[in-house]
Symmetry: C2
């Protein structure tokens, strides 16, 4: 295969065949193609798009670029959950112990954060001693012990995805439906879990700024998953404001603990319950029983107890009072009285990144103590001077003035209450 | 400037501003942007296109990435000639002494060949001792001595173009009107000649496979040149078959000498005369006097004598009987009687490259003795067994069987004569 001709094909909007896709993905994984050639093809895919067939070929080639754990062979009923990335979204940390407490094993392939959203792996890293599974044996040992396994995308899982993800980040080729599907599904297929719950975000704080884009992505994910034999349910959910009220590694672990103790953020609780219910229904529970079981697991303390168990099983200290704390906090307040018409989650996300809570580029270090807490939510009526949000400043020296301005501006105050938006907008199910 | 945002702009089809373009070109020249970022933007430009304003900004930024020779200040009447690349096209080697023999100074920024077309610099290298000018002083010394300067694109001229050209070659982003215009014009502007004759090829052997593409490119070149104060005339010419009958470095020098001695290939002679006439008219000669002067320069031997002079002025030996010769030759013949309906110039070009007459990738070595001679031209009536073309094999070991097949197949034989095509199709003039 002459790779320049492969690039030219996609440049001109023609369809790639299996040889073309294997040359691309194999070259990325083995390092035999130059970054400039990979980047050119990524941009051509981003602009020209890809057919379902091309996307499926991409997914399979990326899965096969590394090890396949086949966890679904050992645990056919195990479920994985994935979100396309949101602000203040610590659902994974709640979903895993909650669903496992209801008797359904959970495998979670967790990633590091990049850009304005934080990653589950970073949040877990704020728990002293916590270590995600790095290979099949470690994954199975954790599931055997507590019914949950958090796995880190290791060097051996889908190495082509690691390479391409890093390139996409610096070449403005992240927002491509085909490439997003390929990135997500290749890792899921490599782990080999047979059931998957997807949370596809839409809105100002998500990759998909438009609802239609998110629905299209959800449909593409579900259909590629189905063709690969994975039972999938995808919810399209609102990310026009932060999901929970905490951003930052330690802050989001705290937020998760609060939900598991039945005193958490309302929206964060609601979405986790909806996604967990999908998992129980997929495991064969009737829908009404599933909701009851989930409520009981929280109210009876089983879910909270499962969190301690899974932290122990991953080598961590389940003492959440010892989480890193901010060195100081600064609260911004409402400059006028009024109704909160909108909260710009992406802006809040970038403020948190500026404090050290996330990464501008791969390799940046994350400060687990840095983050922020949101006090005013969309629809709230405020008096002038009411608290909007609190910066939790960690170890990093930051120039506060511009951050405080950006933080204040992220809250749009007005006189009329905004129209309420549903949290869960649509649901897609894959037929096997 | 956040360069990822610049890439995203063009990805989404929005217009780049001066800061964006300077960041791109400056980053390419200084090596501060990664190849993957440059490649992604090149592909986005290739697919999304660029406005005249963006193209002009690109040209100016690329010119300013290196030294500016300002030869037009010293020789306002000097003319440069450029072709967009054709097969069997040794016009530059004829044009320069011919126009100079008529009293108009000529500056030629010559490049190395890549792909199925050969470069003027490679052809000149087959003349023992020949050295193109590498800086302003050398260029002026050569013009002073013989009225002609062949210059090599040195490290100091438009380094951004060198970088981007190498990237375009491996990323399938060569065929972009904006990038072609920027590459050509940035070098011309850096040399600073104020008059320019362009030969824009269209057809199966050219970059522009369609006439409309070539006309669009010619118009873009002429308008960007005009806005930069360069008087330009562009001819759109036929490249649906090889221009001359020789391909390869030494072979094309031989072909040029034959034209200067009045016994050259008919089509090569005709096009050179048309382009040279444009140059003389631009220098103020009436059109009919120009044609007469050019014929006289060839018939009286002045043009041929000027070739010897210019070779000497460039340190070369004007003894063309000593040009490298092939180690052996193989001739393919017509498998049937018939009329030559088409000759695939690009196929012939790649056969020549396989023999070592050109480069598949930058850095490949060119064998000056390798090439081929075309005997059968479009419209010729042949008997079965009549010679089609002769391979001139140089120092490289080649597997002949596939080459002979490809060579034979490059000639389409039929029963009806094809429609004659004009050699010069259109003419564009820039208004200053």
């Amino acid at each position: 295969v002459n790779f320049v001709e492969v690039i030219a094909k996609k440049r001109d909007g023609r369809e790639l065949n299996e040889d073309d896709v294997r040359a691309f993905v194999g070259g990325a994984a083995r390092g035999t193609l130059g970054d400039e050639q990979l980047a050119a093809l990524l941009m051509a895919i981003c602009i020209r798009g890809a057919s379902t067939r091309e996307t499926t070929l991409l997914v399979e080639a990326m899965r096969d670029s590394g090890a396949c754990w086949r966890l679904g062979d050992a645990y056919p009923e195990a479920v994985d959950k994935h979100s396309t990335g949101g602000v203040g979204d610590s659902v994974s940390l709640i979903f895993a112990p909650l669903v496992a407490a209801c008797g359904v094993p959970v495998t979670m392939m967790a990633g590091a954060g990049l850009g304005h959203t934080q990653g589950t792996l970073d949040k877990l890293a704020s728990i002293q001693g916590f270590r995600a599974a790095g290979n099949r044996e470690e994954a199975i040992a954790r599931i055997e012990r507590c019914g949950v396994c958090f796995a880190a995308q290791s060097q051996e899982i889908a190495p082509a995805d690691r390479k391409l993800y890093a390139l996409r980040d610096v070449t403005a080729t992240v927002p491509s439906s085909a490439l997003i599907v390929a990135s997500i599904m290749s890792k899921k297929l490599a782990v080999g879990t047979k059931r998957l719950i997807l949370d596809v975000k839409w809105g100002t704080g998500a990759f998909c700024k438009k609802l239609a884009e998110a629905e299209e992505l959800a449909e593409a994910l579900v259909s590629v998953a189905a063709s690969a034999g994975v039972m999938t349910s995808a919810l399209v959910t609102d990310m026009n404001e932060p999901l929970g009220n905490c951003l930052g590694s330690a802050a989001e672990v705290r937020a998760a603990v609060e939900v598991l103790e039945g005193r958490g953020d309302r929206r964060l609780t609601e979405l986790t319950m909806a996604l967990a219910a999908e998992a129980l229904v997929m495991a064969g529970r009737p829908a009404d029983e599933a909701a009851t079981a989930l409520r009981a697991a929280i109210e009876g303390g089983a879910a909270r107890h499962k969190l301690d168990e899974l932290v122990l099983a991953h080598g961590g200290r389940p003492e959440f009072t010892h989480l890193p704390r901010p060195s100081r906090t600064v609260t911004v307040t409402a400059p006028r009285a009024g109704v909160v018409r909108a909260v710009d989650g992406e802006a809040l996300g970038w403020v948190a990144v500026s404090l050290g809570a996330g990464r501008r580029r791969q390799g940046d270090e994350v400060d687990p103590a840095a983050g922020l807490v949101v006090h005013a939510r969309t629809g709230d009526r405020l008096l002038a001077g009411a608290p909007l949000a609190t910066l939790e400043i960690g170890a990093r020296d930051v120039s506060l003035d511009p951050l405080l301005d950006r933080l204040t501006q992220a809250f749009e105050l007005g006189d009329e209450a905004p129209q309420a938006r549903p949290l869960v907008v649509a649901r897609f199910k894959g037929n096997l």
